[in-house]
Point group: D2
Chain length 197, copies 4
């Protein structure tokens, strides 16, 4: 699996890298995106949206509520956990409707945010986890560490054998089915496609 | 709303155009993607996947089944409709799980395909409709025409006033919330971000 | 469409009524469920879950945030609206993942709740809207009234003609397909089903 | 986990049993529903819909296509597998949009069906698998057996410790939060609820 966190250099990541990471995620590699990674090229690529948010840096308190207490990502947590000082991210968070909302955050400054979101794309599981910062000591928080640990396990493929291979991306195949599965007669206009020459 | 159909020149569409169409879809513009448009840059952008399929050109018969007979896109159709000669598209179709599967196709040659898929991204509705071809006379089929007509209406925004504007994309705002909604004291490490200078 | 709000007499609603409302929703009738209607038989029936929540009556302030500013249900609202005194509902809210989360609430007492949730079941649209109370004056709030008005329009079927009829429920049909769509020979063991006698 | 298959005696299952199975599924127990189990009380309860289908018994051939070749439930299968003689189930299948469509079936008689559907409700995973019959020898088919085996593993909870307990259903708690998480003053009208006496 791959953990992705970036802050200000998102644009410096080459598109070729993004293409390859996307391909691997679709083939089954888990992807955990942290905090400001919401604006990374790879997260926006996988979502198909801008992933825009509201934000403010005021060192405010964040209380992260568990929306599904039996979810593997919430294992070992109480009903909520608190982060003493954090950067605020507020709604609207422009992402597709997730398969599951695991966390919603309450901020001291009066805002809310869907802080833990599960997605599946191709055979890859994706988890977005909001907490984190480049200066507030968020990643020293024991519960934040626990969620990261749990989600690393959750995004991993359930089976390691037999993962699907993208034959087009790998240049093995153009996915034309040469022979029909069910015997039929070819009919209609025969088209001369250049790409067949 | 926008109808998108392309065949072999997908790569010639400039990324700038794709960026602008994506932004408009997220703001609320409907998008109807037809047949080989599944491999267009804009559809792959909105999906976050490859949209790869299996295919074959044998002029085979396609029977398109309605999975939700009360869906506005299926209005006026019977339980199914048939297309005399068509290019086959087969599963796996690599797209995110749709909000709704309106059509599933049965092909004479023994394959199946999820032929009508609904998505919402941001405020934009997206419908993918499989039938179509550059040489078989699919777009003369009355039921195909009916579905296209119905889906044009369905993808349009339900309200035309008050559509959301992407203030970041438009350069109006960086979405920082300058003042807290709930009065709080700023605390924690004051970070000197270059982007604030 | 139908608005459902109840408080303490949920159990007095007869199952026959619930059956009939469910059937009409599946056929296309919109359903708007308010506040404590989350524990109504019809809402639990449509969700397939308990719809359990956390709650407290302390007259606290609720700030309802808009997660999708372009959604028809949010038309005419600002980024958020506030309710002066309310009963708190807190996560976890045990419902299936919604098609869209339109509102998330921030409570003065430190909790959060997914306050506006969209579902589609059969051909019926369902919207759950949290605010409301039997004693706090929540339904006098202009923004609450606006959301109720918007959502009444949103849950209504997009087309009024050609709604799907549940032929089994209506006793018209047992949905056996008497003749094959594609000509085939019957084979295999002929089973003597009592229900055919 | 629990496998549920029934045919004609669905109505004989007591509602009390259904209540208890539902509660255990929401708490995390996997549920695999086979073939005509689509009309079982427990499946309809979990779905919130009628689960109605089209059907015919003609011993026709079914070809089950894999829509996501990397899904754990499809492990060890090829692109498709065939069942020599089967009862046909045809669309529309009235269920909520699934989290994932793993299989779609092609029938000799010209119909299609979404044959493998994944759901999550509460903490429980649910898989519906169409193939099966009370007289055609479907459950002797090696690939059908493989899917059943794979899906038994898939529906099981990822973590066995720390599963969520439904405290209301168990009579432990009415889920009132006695003390606010964030210190606040109680305000507003004090209501005399009978249920508090």
């Amino acid at each position: 699996m791959l953990i992705w966190w970036g802050h200000k250099a998102h644009k410096l990541v080459e598109d070729k890298i993004v293409d390859r990471v996307q391909q691997r995620v679709l083939e089954g590699m888990g992807l955990l995106v942290l905090h400001s990674g919401h604006h990374s090229k790879i997260f926006k690529r996988m979502m198909g949206t801008t992933a825009n948010i509201r934000w403010a840096e005021r060192g405010e308190m964040e209380r992260v509520w568990v929306c599904n207490p039996g979810h593997p990502i919430a294992e070992g947590l109480g009903e909520y956990f608190e982060i003493e000082m954090t950067e605020m991210y507020g709604e609207p968070f422009q992402v597709p409707a997730p398969d599951e909302t695991v966390f919603v955050s309450w901020f001291e400054g009066g805002e809310v945010f869907r802080s833990g979101l599960c997605y599946k794309r191709g055979n890859g599981k994706i988890f977005y986890f909001r907490p984190g910062h480049e200066s507030y000591p968020v990643y020293y928080n024991k519960d934040v560490q626990r969620v990261i640990k749990n989600s690393i396990h959750w995004v991993c493929p359930e089976k390691t054998s037999g993962l699907w291979i993208d034959r087009i991306a790998k240049g093995i195949d153009n996915m034309e089915r040469k022979d029909p599965v069910q015997p039929i007669e070819v009919k209609g206009y025969q088209v001369d496609h250049n790409y067949k020459k």
